[in-house]
């Protein structure tokens, strides 16, 4: 068993070591966290990744804001209300959505947003594609958490004459709160590291851009992609540093998920 554990650890440590040793030194420079890449060419050192970090965070949060209500409410429907054909169909659709490859989600939104409506490729289009990927994750994790809530709690609430909707809002959801948050954050971590839809819908820019509805919005994955084939050392270093930044960002998110889950759980 220990052997298997160590074996699983090897690639993880290997990746971490490679990324840290090749790009770690850039992250120690405060410029990395305060400046963008504007005006920095592949042969010049310097600049930072704040434009990409902001883009990734903004797109991640917007995606979460859209997908969490949809996902949680779908899960509530499936667990608390759903009976019969409709529930089966919804459940089936969520399964299908889970299996949609990210590039297909990206192409679908491209076909809708750019080809059909003729809009520009903007940050919000990326969010829409990411929503397609995040909703099924949120639905599935929330569903599992709601199923874990003991039926006795619901019955006790009904016995006191509490209506069903109030039971869900006041009893079921709070009990499952920590699990739901963990699921949401894991889903968020997944979409923030997503690359395929970004390649199609979110061209890179070297400047800071915070407007979701106009202009190009840089993100960490596209920043990595931009210079990934570059051979000049400054650009190569920045690619590794951006990769490390993305790993750290998602690690932080996962940790936050754990902490919130622990603090927010119902006290025994």
């Amino acid at each position: 068993m220990w052997g298997a554990f160590l074996l699983a650890l090897v690639p993880l440590l290997w990746i971490l070591w490679t990324v840290v040793s090749k790009g770690g030194h850039l992250l120690l420079d405060s410029q990395w966290w305060t400046n963008s890449q504007k005006g920095i060419t592949a042969r010049r050192e310097g600049g930072g990744a704040i434009h990409a970090i902001q883009g990734t965070l903004i797109q991640g949060l917007t995606t979460a804001v859209i997908s969490v209500p949809i996902g949680v409410m779908t899960a509530i429907y499936l667990v608390e209300y759903g009976r019969g054909r409709l529930a089966k169909a919804v459940s089936f659709m969520v399964d299908i959505l889970t299996g949609v490859p990210s590039i297909v989600a990206g192409l679908f939104i491209y076909a809708l947003w750019v080809t059909t409506f003729g809009f520009q490729r903007v940050g919000f289009a990326v969010c829409l594609a990411l929503v397609l990927l995040m909703v099924p994750v949120v639905v599935r994790s929330t569903e599992e958490m709601l199923k874990l809530v003991p039926n006795e709690l619901r019955e006790a609430a009904y016995a006191l004459g509490v209506p069903k909707w109030k039971t869900i809002v006041k009893v079921v959801l709070p009990t499952a709160f920590s699990g739901i948050i963990t699921g949401v954050l894991l889903g968020l971590a997944r979409v923030m590291g997503e690359t395929a839809p970004l390649l199609i819908l979110g061209p890179y820019s070297k400047s800071i851009a915070t407007d979701l509805f106009s202009g190009l919005m840089p993100t960490l994955p596209t920043m990595i992609n931009q210079d990934r084939t570059e051979s000049l050392q400054p650009a190569v270093d920045r690619v590794w540093a951006a990769a490390l930044t993305l790993i750290l960002l998602i690690l932080l998110l996962n940790l936050a998920g754990r902490v919130i889950a622990r603090l927010g759980s119902v006290k025994k």
Binding site: K38, G39, A42, R43, V114, T229, E230, A256
Partner: protein
């Protein structure tokens, strides 16, 4: 308990919003390398604005320098350029996704794959789209063979290698050109651009023009020879760097940056080494072509002039002759004027490009001034 939970969510939201509104800065120190020009264009700076371009990766290094120096000069302006390849650039331009396209070949006026590029661009623009030659540079036939520092190729032999007819380095046809060089018996590994590339088009145009018997397929953005595909210029150059026996065609800057061997080309007047001088000689022989302000650069690939390096590419910026938005047009004009200026063009020399000949530059300037 409920309050505590709400507090948690609120604190997460707070931290998130702080992270988002954290003051980032777009101001990096002005570049010290390359073309830090102080031309008089500064007085023509538009007030801010953003311009998005996409296309040729052959001109990426050149346009990055031009963007960098332009943004230093005109504070508040932002120019984005995504080097996704000439084909993608033109498609995004005609789909209205970007303000200008970078391409290694002028818009096609004949139908290809059901689309006439210049018509599609004109349809989007509502006015003819103009090709403005902006950067010229040599394509280096770059190789990685241990112990071979000097390699001479004729167009015929090069065409045979890239068509997969000559498969080993010690083939008699190569050995004949390189007497005194010990060539290994290892196989030749050809790498080509897997994306639609103007470099491929220019290179195959050269092969077709200089060695029509050996290279039989039509020139185009898609590679029709043999070999293994790699994405973008940096991809093929990197692949050759890491592969013993590899050979590819890439812009000079990529060959230089990867420290690859560069073949000398013998077009019939003796082998010519790839140097600034030999490129200058070939580029200055280029003629401006095209109607009015829609400029095309005509190269003589089959030139037999002594000391002129014949494999060149020209990259164009493709813009609407009548812009859709006055502010964008002003910014486009200011940026292109800066890009075509003698100072900027001169600065490109040290990173592996060649300045536009003066005669061509004058025409480009006139065309930029005529944009409206």
């Amino acid at each position: 308990m409920k309050i505590q939970r709400l507090g948690l969510v609120a604190s997460v939201a707070l931290v998130g919003s702080i992270a988002l509104t954290a003051c980032g800065s777009d101001s990096n120190d002005p570049g010290t390398s390359g073309s830090s020009s102080s031309s008089s264009a500064a007085s023509d700076c538009p007030k801010g604005g953003t311009l998005n371009g996409e296309g040729s990766s052959a001109q990426k290094n050149a346009i990055e320098e031009a963007i960098s120096s332009f943004q230093d000069e005109c504070a508040g302006t932002t120019i984005n350029y995504n080097p996704t390849g000439s084909g993608a650039g033109i498609k995004q331009f005609t789909a209205g996704q970007v303000d200008f396209a970078g391409s290694d070949s002028a818009l096609k006026t004949v139908e290809k794959d059901g689309v006439v590029e210049s018509d599609a661009a004109a349809k989007y623009c509502g006015s003819p789209a103009w090709n403005l030659p902006m950067v010229t540079g040599p394509i280096a036939v770059s190789y990685n063979v241990k112990g071979v520092d000097k390699l001479i190729l004729t167009p015929e032999v090069a065409a045979n290698i890239f068509a997969g007819k000559v498969t080993t380095w010690n083939d008699a046809s190569i050995a004949k050109l390189n007497s005194g060089v010990t060539l290994p018996s290892e196989p030749i590994k050809v790498f080509f651009r897997s994306d639609e590339s103007g470099t491929t088009e220019n290179f195959t145009k050269y092969l077709k023009a200089a060695a029509p018997d050996a290279w039989t397929t039509d020139p185009g953005k898609k590679w029709l020879g043999k070999g293994e595909g790699k994405e973008k210029s940096a991809g093929v150059a990197g692949a050759v760097k890491g592969t013993e026996g590899g050979i590819t065609y890439a812009e000079w800057s990529y060959a230089k940056d990867n420290k690859l061997g560069i073949a000398q080309i013998d077009n019939g007047a003796g082998p010519v080494e790839l140097t600034g001088e030999s490129v200058g000689k070939a580029v200055s022989a280029a003629k401006a072509d095209g109607e009015g302000n829609d400029l095309r650069l005509k190269l003589d690939y089959a030139t037999k002039e002594a000391g002129a390096y014949p494999i060149l590419l020209v990259t164009y910026e493709i813009v609407c002759s009548k812009g859709k938005d006055a502010a964008k047009t002003a910014l486009t004009k200011a940026f292109l004027t800066h890009f075509a200026s003698a100072d900027t063009q001169k600065g490109l020399e040290e990173i592996g490009y060649a300045p536009l000949p003066d005669e061509v530059r004058t025409k480009v300037d006139a065309a930029i001034a005529a944009l409206s």
